[in-house]
Symmetry: C2
């Protein structure tokens, strides 16, 4: 689908008002080309009143395409919120889906499409092992058009859907190429309604997607090697293709993230961050992520009372991008022992002066560069600032252990003691 | 298919002997996963005795996969050589194809797959207009696995098949996403048997794919805009995705092409050029090429008695990469008027010192950089050195006019007089 996505990127990115309007016609034209008769439009309550959703609904109405809207997506979805969307999808008997929103919306729509196409499956059948059964997806899914409205997840390019598994207080997900959207429509004007902290936190997700996939265990060091290409995991480790996307996305983040956060009217910056989100997605969707993401799931899952600025929700939550970036200085100081040159290269792209740097200091240099980057952007001062204390570390470690699908892609293997030390080192950043 | 290709790249590129052997099992495993029962292996007479073909045949034999081999592919194919391969494919009633070779083999196999799947079509039905009817491909094709053995064409990533149309003495082709290979297996060890001039000429094709797609008319300046995405041409103009691949491939060419030509044992250089060929292919396959390629078709089609070194063929021919690169200094001196900063950026990547360069000199600087690059590699001194004189220019121009599918992607429109001047300026390079 990436070739198709790349074509859409080419047409829609940096869209002028004219192209934008054309793009909105294209949503319906694409649905007609796909033979869609009953379309499910999925979004969340906030977005349902905002321009991106209106644009899609107007396009559907103009083309006379029959649709139903589901706007009950939960920001940072749970197993229950997935199940609610799945029930809606099963009832609707849709032949196509349009997800308009951030990662929460796109991931919920992927799950709804999957389970509606496989009605006899138990919810845990497709959830990643060891929490679920991790069964391969063999049923044909309906077309899904993803229209991202945040610039972080890159979910429009990946076969991953993440949710909070309430019972275990841990994030997990579904990972299969089969749930990857048919088409991603990257329209930067959709991001103009993003508040400042949402731009920042989603941008941190792009930053970590790029850094983690570039430093992930190389594809040719991963084991076991599949005996058959069909058994190859979605996350294969860093490789010559993902490296191109990771480095490119990292350069865009270094150049545009601060501008995109500080000035909602800086269309060049917002457009480039919207592309960077998709580009980093193509990279990590193929290479994978590792410790920042693996450790982020319990950080979000065990949230106490933290309520982030700019998120209009009725429950406490740690935004995904924030939960990922808070451990990044500690993580890369830890992993730099392996492939330090890649860590130093990343630090330089993020603005570090490495002319006199020693390769053995690569991890510390990247960690300091990240701390400065986060400090400049007024990021909460570590896990302590979002409500965690040393007493929570055992639970955070316990919540990380089931994330081996990603943690095993860390270039450096880690013990429970290592994980404890990484959480402890992330309590305070500045 | 690019996502799949990118996965294969990740697995196969830089393959060790072990991975290589695994890769050769994978050819058969992939065919079994595709449900193939009767496989057509296509190659040319020279390759049929070389390791890459033996490796594939051994793999098929080991897996007991029933196959027939067609080794009659013509280097620089013609309508007749396409028709011979098509006839073989129609008789064989194959359910999958494996193309092992350079662009000539892969392009011939794409055409054979297309017309065998559409037996009632006339040959001209799918040939690019205005020479053919340029009909859209609506029939389902069989899976095609492309195993490139040269590092230039990138044909394993594209939906294009080029041939000499003898009657008109001009090159033309078939362009449709439908004929793009299902899978590309990029194994750099397959390139170790390439003679020096074949490495050079195929490398020049990568160089021009990167330069032309990076300087092509931008996607948002191309007209007419399609009313429906289904009407979008294969070649869309330069865009944010193709730019990433074009620049990356250009950097690899600048770093590794000379090394790959000079030392067949330089595996790092040959492996990186093999990847660069696929990367540039992903870029131009989406953005397109322009004048160097448009003008190259008559340069090849009107060949007189030129027989290049290292090509073991019984007919005179101008290797595609050579026919493309000989006009490149004149072409980029001409196009630099539009987007001169991109031309200057390319010159810098190729080694020019642009610290004191004036933007208005961008074209001359890139042209001089290319001349030096070609001189260092002992490239024939212009069109005169391969048998053309001023008297041939009207015929060369006439042969370029039907190539508007690509020439219209030139950032600067061109008259017949402009084309004459470009051919004349390309008679002598040094």
């Amino acid at each position: 689908m990436n070739q198709r996505l790349s074509i859409e990127l080419a047409i829609y990115s940096f869209s002028s008002q004219l192209a934008l309007c054309k793009c909105r016609i294209f949503v319906s034209a694409d649905l007609q080309n796909l033979g869609a008769r009953r379309v499910c439009v999925m979004t969340d309550k906030n977005l349902s009143k905002l321009p991106p959703v209106n644009a899609v609904l107007n396009s559907l109405a103009k083309y006379g395409i029959n649709f139903q809207m589901y706007d009950n997506v939960r920001v940072e979805p749970t197993d229950q919120s997935f199940l609610d969307a799945i029930q809606f999808a099963k009832k609707g008997e849709f032949d196509a889906y349009v997800a308009v929103g951030g990662g929460s919306v796109m991931d919920t729509c992927k799950a709804a499409n999957l389970y509606a196409a496989s009605p006899s499956s138990e919810f845990l059948d497709y959830v990643n092992a060891p929490i679920g059964k991790g069964k391969p997806v063999t049923v044909p899914l309906k077309p899904l058009i993803a229209v991202p409205t945040t610039s972080g997840t890159g979910s429009e390019t990946t076969g991953v859907a993440i949710f909070d598994f309430k019972e275990l207080k841990v994030k997990t997900g579904i990972a299969s190429r089969a749930i990857k959207p048919t088409l991603g429509i990257i329209d930067p004007l959709h991001t103009l309604s993003m508040p400042e902290r949402i731009v920042a936190n989603s941008g941190f997700d792009v930053l970590c997607h790029a850094l983690e996939s570039y430093t992930a265990l190389p594809y040719n060091e991963r084991s076991p090697c599949p005996a058959n290409p069909i058994d190859r995991p979605a996350y294969q480790g860093s490789n010559p293709v993902s490296d191109v996307w990771a480095l490119h996305a990292l350069r865009v983040v270094a150049k545009y993230l601060k501008r995109a956060i500080r000035d909602p009217e800086d269309r060049e910056a917002r457009a480039n961050m919207h592309l960077a989100s998709a580009f980093a997605g193509i990279g990590f969707g193929n290479a994978g992520v590792h410790l920042c993401h693996g450790m982020s799931y319990p950080i979000s899952g065990l949230v106490k009372t933290y309520k982030p600025k700019d998120y209009n929700v009725d429950h406490s939550l740690v935004p995904h991008g924030l939960s990922v970036v808070l451990t990044s200085p500690a993580v890369f100081a830890f992993t730099a022992q392996i492939h330090p040159e890649r860590h130093l290269e990343a630090a330089e792209i993020l603005g570090a002066d490495i002319r006199t740097a020693r390769i053995k200091d690569a991890g510390l240099i990247l960690a300091d560069t990240l701390r400065k980057f986060l400090f400049d952007l007024n990021v909460d001062d570590g896990l302590a600032a979002i409500g965690y204390s040393k007493a929570d570390i055992p639970a955070l470690v316990k919540g990380t252990l089931p994330q081996e699908r990603v943690t095993k892609l860390s270039p450096r293997p880690q013990t429970e003691e290592d994980l404890s030390a990484l959480f402890e080192a992330s309590m305070k950043l500045y």
